[in-house]
Amino acid sequence: MDEFFEYYKDGMDSLIIPDFSIQELKDVRQHEKYAKRRKLECVITTVVISLALSVATPAIGYAAYVAHKKLHFTLHGFRVDSSNQSQSDAVVHKYAYNGTELSDEGIDKIPTYIQEDLSTDVTDVQEYTKVSSFDKWEDALELIDFPIAYPKNIQYSELKIVYQSDASFKLVEASYIVDEKELTINYTHFLSEGWDLSSDYNAEIVNQYTYKNKYGYEFGVMECQYEDVNKIIAVAYIKDDVIQLSFSGCDDSAVYEILDEFNLSVYFIS
């Protein structure tokens, strides 16, 4: 059989390699496909700028409206309502104009209409989450302070890891680019119940089944269609943890091979 493959080598060595120019290959921007992509990037930039403008215009309008609302002309002059967006600190300054000069009449109590305004925009409490980004798992694992399962042997050309954390919430989101195939991993510590993938992804579920990997862990697998893109989503629930993998651009067998590599018991020791 080895001799047979020597013949194979001879045959392959005789294969005619078409001429090509390295300079042409390097000059990717000349290539039709990349020119198209650049066009697409321009279109996306235009759309983003348009969207930004469409958001900014009403915002400026609203700011002008608020300023106008806070400025009140009276028979004796005008007054400006000032507030630092906290109901307890809200004050009203009165100014009087006697025809020649402007005098400060001091702080007034908060009129009812301002109290109504304040009640709508002060109550929201902004929650701040610490967010860190990494390009390598090694760097991410130094900071991630809880056990995490991830496929170690994927050959990827790009990896982006985002780690978000605060007192009650932890989320690791990793995106792999495996050439044309994109694999996304979402990992969270608190969403174990009521996790509704179909509404989360706004996707139409085409097929749904379970897959038990070689370590005996069961994944709920859904074949979904999301904006004309076929995705395979696999979810494993372990205690309060959820691991979700979203695959696009690869076939079932590739999905199973990756799922098989998850030995979750290694990561979730009670």
Partner: protein, 161 residues
């Protein structure tokens, strides 16, 4: 330095072209896909820690592009090995016979299903280890070993026919 790069790229180009050609079995498609691989290579401008990883990356990209090619087109064209293999000139009768045998073997391998064909090419032509093929294809090492054995058996059957 540019010359070293050029030599390296030319070597890779030939390897990738041959690999792709054995997968798509069509000269034009193989040329297009190989060019795509190298457009991506230059576009992404990835710095690889060593030559082996660079080679593995190129083969992985080429493999994925072949798969995409099958998904998107009904490419089934007849493999004409004589058209794409250089004609032997001024060679002895023995050498000519060996070349003919070589063409025959290439055509036999090309009749294998894709999953066996790519592994046999990487193993026997590129002299890659099972581990390296496993990294490129994303398959388990045991799967590669099984597919290699099955590929060889199937090849025997094709030759007997």
């Amino acid at each position: 330095m540019a010359d070293i790069d050029e030599v390296k790229i030319r070597k890779y180009y030939s390897k990738i072209y041959k690999f792709v050609y054995m997968q798509v079995k069509n000269r034009e498609d193989a040329q297009d896909i190989t060019q795509e691989v190298f457009y991506q290579y230059f576009d992404k401008n990835i710095v690889f820690p060593d030559v082996e990883r660079e080679k593995a990356w190129l083969f992985t990209v080429a493999r994925n592009k072949c798969k995409n090619h099958w998904r998107t087109c009904w490419y089934r064209k007849i493999f004409d090995e004589m058209e794409n293999i250089s004609e032997p000139k001024d060679i002895s009768e023995n050498e000519y016979e060996r070349k003919e045998d070589a063409f025959y073997v290439v055509s036999c391998v090309s009749k294998l299903p894709y999953k066996y064909r790519e592994i046999i090419h990487l193993f026997y032509y590129e002299n890659m280890s099972i581990e390296k093929i496993s990294k490129i294809t994303g398959k388990n090492k045991s799967t590669i070993q099984t597919q290699l054995d099955r590929g060889r058996k199937l090849l025997k059957k094709i030759m007997i026919k």
